[in-house]
Amino acid sequence: MTMLRAHPRRRSAFTLIEMMIALVLGSAILYTTLAGMRVASQCYTIATRLSLENALIRAGFMKALDEVDFWTAYDDPTDPSLAFGGVNGGEVNRNPGLPFCPFANAPANFKPGGLPPMPNPDGTYPPIDGSLPPTNEAGLTGWNPTYNWSMSDPAVWTRANMGARGNNGNDVRFGYYGMFSGTYGQFPSGTSGLYYHYGAVTVPHQWLANQMDGLKNTLGYYGMIDYLPANTIFSYNCYKTANGQNADAVPYEFSYPAGPYTVNVFGDADGGTQVPRGLYRDTKDVSIALLPLRPQGASGAGNQATPVSSVSQAAAFLRQDYYTGQEATPANLSYFQDLTTSKSNLMGAQPANWPLVGTSVARYITADRYATVCRIGWISPTTGEHVDLSFTAFGTSLRGARQQRAQAPGGGWAQWDNGGAANASNLDTQ
């Protein structure tokens, strides 16, 4: 008979203690992992959101720079119906007085090619001399896009009386500078009336005065400044009497200290200054505006920036200066910014959870500086926080922008460098 022995038993499962310990350890590890996964998930969400925001900001930045170079907020060459204030039906932004007026549409005396100038007050016309650079300026009034305004050319030197005050301060005791230059051919006319002392003399220099007058009437103040050389003295003799003229034929427009926000008055009259002066002195306390097609402040009744609904209204905004100087109030600056800033959303439609991104560009001349102020703003869809990035930039000038555009409304962009063929006409050419 075999005796049964008690065999040592082998374990085939975990004990309760082991299970408990294992559960605790496993739970700890699992919790840590899950926490890490949760953080990773949140990080991924945030990073994705930031990535999206960054992409939109970059797109806004590029859009702002595109606007700096192509000026589509002021003139869209592919949409001829686009006009100020969204008014359609024939109102286009290429009329005289507006910065994208083709020179071919300019007032008659400023059309390219030197067409007959303004008649003299007595109805006669001086002879036309088409030579350039001007050696005989009689009758030369039109715009020539190829002339380079050399500083050694006597035609580009201003001959206004640098010591002349406006009409209420000039007793002409130092003579009539109107006989040296002006928009007219003879000074004076006839044997009676104004300035009869010396009889009629042929004015030798008409070109510069007509260039300045023509640029002002065709493009407004900003355009006039953009086209003229940096050392320009903003004064010339003329018979244009939009606001009257003084005894030396310098118009009120460039000499009378009427103050800002007055239509057809140019320049800073700080301290009652009335003598001819350059751009810094004319803009040290005031700014010259450029009006976009959709000013951000043009929102309707009750807003200081009156919606622009007509060409003449737009032109009026471009023929005055705005107070932005050392005592400018927040209201002054807010009004000016509303007038000069164009704002648009980056995208016309977008998912609701995407941040709303807008870009704006404002252009003006202030204190002898061509300011192009860009702003990219975005609103977080989750927090509602509004953040701005603003900066200034320099790109295409107004003249360059005009040369980018084909002359005909809706003609699109001008073609340059056509492989030997002639360049297409643009806003600067005939």
């Binding site: 930031l50 050694s152 007793d171 350059g278 927040p330 300011a371």
Partner: protein, 679 residues
Amino acid sequence: MSATWPIDEHEPYTAQLRSVRVASGRCGFTLFEIAISLVLVSFGVISILILFPMGIKAQENARFRIYAAAKALEIVESYNASHNANPAFEAEAPNAWDVHVTGRNLAPDLEARDSSYRFGMFPLPLTIAQRLDSDGDEIQTILSQGGYLYYSQPLATTGLSESGFTGANTQPPNDAQRLVMGIVGYAQNNALYAFPWKAWPYYAAYPSPPAFGNHQQSGWLPISAFKLPVSLPNMEHPSYLWEDTTDPDIRMVWSNIWPVPAFPTGAIPATYGGYYWHWLAQPYVPPTVQAPAPSPSPTVNPPNQPMASLQTATNYLACALWYATRKGLPLAFINGTAGLADVQGLFAQPPANLAQQVCALRFLAHAATTVSGYSSNPNGEPINPLAMTAGGISPAMRLTSAMITDYHEMCLAVGMRFAASYPYDWGAPRPLQRAIMTDNPLIEFDLLQPGNLLSGQTYAGGYQAQAWRPIAAQPIRNLGVSFTYPAWNLGAQGGNTLVSENPLDAGYVSFPQNPLWGDGEHDFTLFQHFAPAERCRQIVFWTVDWQSYEDCETAPSAPVDAGKYLLGAPVEGGNLNWAMTNPPFMDWQQFGYFNPEKVMVFTSSCLDLPTGSHVATEGTHDQANQGLGNAAIFNGLYGADRNANGLLDRGPVPTSVRLRAVQVGRFNYYDLRVPATIR
């Protein structure tokens, strides 16, 4: 272990009890191994999970790279396009150290030009900047070399006056303020913004009379200077005739009678001639109609009042004709028949006194045009001879309108050509109506002669001072004297004592023996060829949340360069206090001066104020930071409202903590060496 007991296969119970275990090796993991492996896996997984937050960091850095690109564009645009005018500052002094025009404040270097309350790049407080770490310790290297870190202005960049935005909490937060920027690389030795001994170029209209103007300190004028009476209308200070310091004969154009007699109460004698008598002869009367009233007109002016008239105008012309003849102006110019060929001939063989002939034409054209306001003679106006105190009489002639036009044309042609051909001949002012870049002479300091400095004392305070000697691209001809300090010989080496009352005196020393100047022939560098790498500098951007420091707004402003204090030039009887308070501070006309944080600095200590308090800032109260007693405000010692929200802010990070600045961009650029703008 094999079974060792005998196995009785016939015993079912035994079989049931039988447990054959073949323990030749393990067949499972132990719990310990599982635990270890789980820990190792966890390490791996968590290491990967840690990378996810780095994605956020990368996106934030990408965001700041966009900001950096935008700000770099703005900085360079502002540097190139903002005007460089300072219309209401002091530009001249007997010694360079008495005015702040040659210092860093007006240097055409990017960090000097753009660090202005108007242009948006503000120095970060030094105490904060010194707590920032960066790769290669680059930030601390910049600081140790005397540079600053800069942060962006808090409000939207507009280029407009800041007065309308100060303290207004209407702008959204500017994220770009978390960017800090520094300039790496050395600035060059630049051309002087202004030559303090004589702030050339002087401009005059062509045509115009002899130059004169207000001069506050009549006591420092040369004894021989002609001073106009203070009692004249609009004469706040006495005016004096300056242009005769270049040539005493010019006095005859001013008045043919010298010394100038008292102004008569009755009619001006027929023997009196010159600009002076015509200019002051008639009190200002607004024209009632556009045609000026012919004079004399007793119905317009009170009786016995000297009147501007055809006589005073023609006598003025007579004086100008005398001067032109005296200076040897070719006859064609005097006769009013000159043409461009005569201009070319004049410059083909220029006389030694060409500058004087240029001025002669300028006066001649001005005087002739004056006659046009009074003459009505279709055959030409007779110009009668006039006797001159300096000797001789003026030539007689008959003036026609064609001659007037010719004088005017030749005046401009000769004046323009002179200015363009001889930029280093200061004998004639530059034409006001055509300013060109060559009007500004190239003058720099001679840094290569450190043992040959100018030395002396400041006028205000009497402090010892030294200055480099100036050197010009060419020797300056007809240096003359300044308008502000005509009694100072520009050849004097330092000092502030009157040396000579007349630049034509024997004591006057002209270039190149003039001890004022350095060795321009060997040490002038503005024209030297250079390799791009020699002048390339970098704008470096870092991102760091410096506004999280508890003292982000209470830390004092970065040290303000002494040149940014607008010091008054020496005046008779002036002292340090006067120099520190005159001219008055005017933000809108003094851009190269003041603490860049000026508009935001606190005007009193706010250390005891709770966070979130409204604290007064200087804003545009210009005089609040002027004068010896306001040094704390000028220097921003109380801190500044650096985010322009109108409140005192303190961040959560103590000052003992160092922050890590992460580089986000580097942009190469070149500094100008002349104070120019692009248009």
